[in-house]
């Protein structure tokens, strides 16, 4: 008996020694404070951060966020369904949110701007609402075009030109929403004829140098001339240009898709009220009016916010069509799997 007691005593002392630093560790990160909302942001940090700073300035609510690409973020929210660690999923092409609906991860909410938003910028039940619009573009390296005597691509078929062999970079559908929007764009311009659309993507495959993990992953290589061109969201493309890289933005005459950037409240969120406030703010002109100030080239979703003139000039003559969220949401998984099987690993 005595031995057992001594043993237990020693063990508990040792555990205590080990526990002290761990307790310090636990104490070192403050439990989410009452005035902090937790967010997974799909927008890259350099855009999300100024937005959240504006939000804090406007409301006094702090935002604790971490950035994931859309696939990763969605995957995390689904995995954490039983015990959500964040309150809001911020940004990302709407098809990401559409895919999440059938997983039952969102709490429907209709912010004050709901009524004013066009139909394609909101889910009828308020599962998500749009905060911005983001068309895809073709982006090419100016020097590359000149060296190969090419005009900026003005048609989907221009990208099949042999000069682009091994010189295009675009996103990997396994991780990136950009890629999914791209795939649905190809489907749309082919009249949702899946056979034709995948035929085109297979033909494009030899020209692909690399499928990047994130949507913007290829912009830098294109800017540097490591790659000749690619298909990106306009916001990434313009950012590349703004950084001083000599790139050309063009649109295909057949048209190209645009994806609404959405926001959604997580079901079972620990701070639902704060989450709703963030959604109220992000879906209203309050946030979208500050986009231009921070040189974030999303098109506003709210009809009361004017498109920044420089941005408007870029898209003036472009043929841009929305991706049908219901169709995309319903077919996303199947299309991605088909893309992996037929395009990525033929």
């Amino acid at each position: 008996m005595k031995i057992a007691q001594r043993l237990a005593g020693k063990a508990s002392r040792l555990l205590a020694i080990l526990a002290v630093p761990l307790a310090c560790l636990a104490a070192a990160f403050p439990a989410a404070a009452a005035d902090t909302v937790n967010v997974y942001s799909i927008w890259p940090e350099n855009w999300a951060r100024p937005m959240f700073q504006e939000f804090e300035k406007a409301t006094g609510i702090k935002v604790n966020f971490v950035r994931f690409s859309s696939g990763e973020a969605l995957a995390r929210v689904i995995a954490e369904k039983n015990n959500p660690r964040v309150d809001v999923l911020f940004g990302g092409p709407v098809e990401t949110h559409a895919a999440g609906i059938k997983e039952g991860i969102f709490e429907p909410y209709k912010p004050p701007s709901f009524a004013k938003l066009p139909a394609r910028f909101k889910h009828p039940d308020g599962q998500w609402v749009a905060i911005a619009d983001d068309p895809l573009v073709f982006m090419t390296n100016a020097k590359f075009l000149k060296e190969n005597n090419l005009q900026p691509p003005a048609s989907w078929n221009d990208l099949l030109h042999p000069a682009y062999k091994n010189m295009l970079q675009m996103a990997d559908a396994r991780t990136s929403g950009t890629a999914v929007t791209r795939i649905f764009s190809v489907l749309e311009v082919n009249g949702r004829d899946e056979a034709k659309a995948f035929e085109y993507m297979r033909k494009l495959r030899p020209n692909i140098q690399l499928y990047t993990k994130s949507g913007g992953g290829g912009t830098l290589p294109v800017g540097l001339g490591q790659a000749g061109g690619g298909i990106f969201f306009i916001v990434d493309a313009l950012d590349t240009k703004a950084k001083g890289y000599d790139v050309v933005i063009s649109f295909p005459k057949e048209g190209i898709g645009t994806a609404a950037e959405a926001i959604a409240l997580i079901k079972g969120a620990k701070n639902p009220e704060l989450g709703r406030k963030l959604i109220d703010w992000a879906s209203s002109p309050a946030m979208q009016n500050t986009l231009a100030k921070h040189k974030i080239n999303f098109l506003p979703a709210h009809p009361d916010v004017a498109v920044e003139p420089g941005l408007a000039a870029v898209i003036k003559d472009a043929k841009i069509f929305p991706i049908d969220a219901d169709y995309a949401g319903a077919n996303r998984k199947r299309m991605v799997e088909r893309w992996i099987a037929e395009v990525l690993n033929p």
Binding site: P21, F29, A75, N83, R174, T175, Q209
Partner: protein
Amino acid sequence: MASVAPAAGPARGLAWARQDPALSATVLVLWLLLGLFVVFPLAMLTARVFWDGGHFSVAGIGAILTDRHQVQAFWNSLLLATLVGLLGTLVGFVFAFTVARGGLPRWVVTAIDGAVLLPLISPPFTTAIAMVFSFGPRGLITYELLGLKGVTVYGMTSTLFSEALTYFPIAYLALRPILAAIDSNIEGMAMSLGASRMRVFRTVTLPLCIPGLANSFLLLFAASLADFATPLILAGNAFPVLPTQAFLQITGMFDLRGGAVLSLVLLVPAVAVFVLQRYWVSQRFYVTVTGKGAGQQPFESVAPWVRWALVGACLAVTIVIVYLYALLLYASLVMAFGANHAFTLRHYGVIFTEGLKAIKDTLLIAGFSMPLGGLYGVLLGYLVVRKVFPGRRTMEVVSMVNYALPGTIVGIAYLIAFNDPPVELAGTALVIVACYVFRYGPTGIRTTIALLQQIDRSLEEASQSLGAASGTTFRRVTLPLILPAFFAGLGVVFIRSMTAISATIFLVSISWTLITVKILENMTELSLGPAAAFSVLVIVIVFVVIGAISWGLRFFRAPGSEPVTSLLGG
């Protein structure tokens, strides 16, 4: 009596526990921790693979084994690891041989050591990204210098090159003491018997090194097998490898089961390497490395022209390394690499404002992992070598598991095990700290074991005979003597805590993030500047801390105890 072990008398039973409560309590606690952080996650991983809706199933494994693409990835992984093992060992041997036999001045050796250390303490991606900028279609070397066009950097060759460059220092560090310990009198003897220099090398030096070469090959093989960062950047889509596939399966499609299956497939070669190393190579060392040099002047075992060729080869590799890191530093100091080369400090501004949380988190986690990992290594190493208790050997093997497995497996296993109750640790710093302690602490275990084998047991018995209980003996005699191992353990755990990504990328959360994950993030976005700045910062921090530890080591070193030659050995 070194080769005999006490026969376990049936009557003794629990006598060991009764006699020494401190020992039994420590053993108990260590088993609990090993159970929770090593056995449990692996069991959960295996269960996830074979347990489908409440019954046993091999469908998950079957689906992978029949998927042509994944099978390809498996063979690619093996091929890459083999080539990296061969190339890295070759380069490492050339370096080790040149340093040991080249008769180089001291400062040249120091310079080589410094340059060779760089890849070991760098965050992942650094050589990979520098490769892209040097050898890509618009690379500084391929395009600007050589004027080549349409070159593709993505694929096996560049991955191999980058990994070999990153990991050859492991081979160098493993082979140098062996070459140094070969008594050059043996070579002199062979020469006096009429053998030419080349013949001496072929028939004496090389054969003596073979176990060392095999060991180094296996180390590099394992390192390459586990590397996920380099292929993620460089392998492209044409050359998929398993760790990257498992990562994409999980983070991209959140297919935990698929990721688990892929990582379990990876387990097979990893375990094979571990077993080979432990039970085959380690028994075949002819040369005992004691840490003491052979002492005598190395004789002229190398012809002058060979010596110059060797020095030239080393210099070339060293220059490539220095060039790659200079490029990294440069990229961190210009506005936009490749477009706007105006000098700026703004990237450092960015990492110290927006990236500050990642820096703080990383330092905090590394700061906690370091002492815990060091203590864990020393304690477990000590128990395993010096104490007799049931399951001693098993404990040693279990403690090496997380160390031997590729990080991807460990990360995925932790993710599966700690995501849901009963042990819900996902999202906490604790899970990251535990991952580091149990994954990198074993280096300290090995150093402790090696050191203890050189310290006569009678020292501890003397203490005991003077009336000190086992705890006191450990604290006052053993611990001071194995402080070098403790510091080595600290160093390794710290370096890895600052630079590792393969396991912990699965464990970052809203509350805790890491610099390495930020680097990957920045890399996959457009922000090369901050990525480079973060990398430079990590290298600087690691250098400072290693310097401090080395200084501390000198300060604490007991007179007469063996110096630890390298913080990264083993």
